[in-house]
Amino acid sequence: MAEEIHLPEAATEPRKRKIGKKKGSKAKKKAKMLHSSEEIRAMKPKKFNNKMKKLFLKRAKDYNSESEEESKQEDVKPKPLGNNEEEPIGGAASSSGEESEEGGGGGGRNRGDGVSDDEEHGEILPGIMKFSEGCNAFRLAFKSIIKKSVSLNAVGPVMSAHKKLVAEKLAEEQTERKAKGEAKKEKHTVIEKGHVMPANYLDTHEKFLIGVATKGVVKLFNAVNKAQNAQKGLNPSKFKDAKVIKKRRKEAFFSELGKTSSKAHASKGAVDGEGPAWAPLRDNYMLTNPKLKDWDKKQDSIVEDDIGRVAGDSSDDD
């Protein structure tokens, strides 16, 4: 029971403490009013660490995310520092201190006050340099940095200690890109397989093909001319003329029927000999002609007979 009672108390205590802390901030102000150096000494390192930690984290993030922003920051920073270098000759200690800490963040004011307070007292805290000393050391360091000649085409941030790292990163990126590009190219070649760009001129092969096609067209046109000249002057819509046309066609059909058998043999002979193998060169190339259709059918009929017979045999077997 006693424990149970104690626990809620323990729970409530931090709350009280928090409230107390809030009050404590007020108390801090009071302490500042009192200029008690001991309290500041107690508070300072803690606060400093937190802030700097945040700052460093932020910087690290920036650095990791983009190198450009970093370089910009680098560009911006030297300016106020340069001012500082000029100022100390006649500058007030408090003002310069504030300026130097502006980069530190919004919370700098409190600390600045503290520093000024310290200086007023003439005490030097550990971790905080006296302005004159710090200035000298800083000046030397800054000068050495400024003197450094940096090649114009430097990669990445100038003052970074991880110069190599950045270069490595870039190199890695490049290799990655290269690999990607190669993969893309490979894919493209697979896609474009067989796709050939035609030449601007007609080479011999194309000319030959055009010649073959032209021969075919000429053959057809001549055939059309021959067929349609015969029925010239006859209007197929008129009954009389239509009759005449029909008669003529019939005659032509039968005459060609008589021819075909001999012609087919002739063509076969031609194939065996030197005769042109192209269909358009042969007289019977136009298979759409009624005569040739018939020629085909003639063969087919024989074939069909064969089929019928074979089919019959198979049925018998079954």
């Binding site: 030449a199 092969h205 055939a223 059309v224 085909d296």
Partner: protein, 352 residues
């Protein structure tokens, strides 16, 4: 509470009424300023059915589908579009296909629509393939596309690519050359390709409808088939280029550099004399063709390449539609009885 509810209901009904009213107004065409409500456009089912039979010759018109059997990369899709254009007018130019469509779907549609031929494009890592098949159960020829160029590429390679408006309104002629070596698979190929386009009746055909030609040339040595597509142009022979242009274009000619009007007629142009008119390529026309080509005069046939160019290699012939026994194979296995071959020949040449 109930009263309030009633009020709300009433207000709603009033609002709906108010909303409805402008709708009723918009339907009237009286005030054109107000934007019309967009109606979903339903394409009317075309009542004009394309005749399956040629109205002059009475032959059945072969129709075709060009589609792909897998997902095609860009250039091959373009080739498919070119092939569809080539097969015009008796093909589905805007055939939509989905990945889940299989061959049976196309076959089911093909029956009622009278489609007789399928051209199927597919792709493997080694090469693209073209399969040409007779639909219901006919043989399937598989070609390996060794090389191809698109219509765009060919147009780009030419100085003046030609594409008259009515180029694709009629079916192309087909010329098969070099197939007469007596081999059976070549014979089958010939007959299949001959029947892929409507037959031409020499007695009734109009020369103005012969605008294109498809050439298939078999090379005996390489065993490759060259597939070309040309446009046919006729030019009167013996007329200078200037005069021809003048008659064709109906434009005022440029006479600045000439001393006399007669010079325009007598002076030869540049191109006309250099282009030696081949005697073999001239025809006398049965009737007038266009403004320039007269029936009595001689005309020269000029071909200009359009459309896709392919180099095909016959890989195999299957008995069925992408199935069945392999009749012919590039790799030497020739299982072909005379009977099956002849059956296939008849199937291919069937027009009914």
């Amino acid at each position: 509470m109930r009263l309030i509810n009633n009020l709300i209901c009433l207000a709603r009904s009033v609002i709906t009424f108010l909303r409805l009213k402008p709708h009723a107004e918009t339907e009237l065409p009286k005030n054109p300023k107000r934007p019309k409500k967009k109606k979903v456009f339903v394409k009317p089912v075309s009542t004009k059915k394309q005749a399956n039979v040629d109205h002059i010759t009475g032959d059945k018109i072969p129709r075709s589908f060009v589609f792909s059997r897998c997902k095609l990369p860009g250039p091959l899709r373009q080739l498919q579009a070119d092939l569809r254009k080539l097969m015009l007018p008796y093909t589905a130019l805007k055939l939509k296909e989905k990945r889940r469509n299989n061959l049976r779907d196309f076959l089911n549609v093909a029956g009622p629509m009278g489609v007789t031929h399928f051209l199927m494009l597919s792709k493997t890592p080694t090469a693209p393939y073209l399969r040409v098949a007779r639909t219901p159960q006919g043989p399937t020829l598989t070609f390996k596309i060794q090389e191809y160029s698109l219509a765009v590429d060919i147009a780009r390679s030419q100085k003046r690519p030609r594409c008259p408006a009515d180029l694709f309104k009629n079916a192309p002629l087909i010329v098969l050359s070099g197939f007469g070596t007596g081999e059976q698979h070549l014979k089958l190929t010939t007959i299949l390709f001959q029947n892929i386009f409507p037959a031409i009746d020499v007695n009734t055909v109009k020369l103005s409808s012969c605008q294109r030609i498809v050439l298939l040339n078999y090379n005996k040595d390489t065993k490759l088939i060259d597939f070309r597509h040309y446009s046919i142009r006729l030019q009167p022979v013996g007329v200078s280029q200037r005069l021809r242009r003048f008659v064709q274009n109906h434009q005022v000619p440029d006479l600045r550099n000439l001393q006399d009007v007669s010079d325009f007629v007598t002076k030869a142009g540049y191109g006309s004399e250099s282009e030696a008119d081949d005697e073999a390529a001239t025809v006398t026309l049965a009737n007038d063709l266009g403004r320039v080509n007269r029936a009595s005069s001689k005309s020269a046939v000029k071909l200009q390449e359009i459309g896709p160019r392919m180099t095909l290699q016959l890989m195999k012939i299957e008995e069925g539609l992408c199935t069945g026994g392999v009749i012919f194979s590039e790799y030497g296995t020739l299982i072909l009885s005379c009977r099956t071959f002849l059956v296939l020949l008849t199937v291919c040449s069937m027009t009914s």
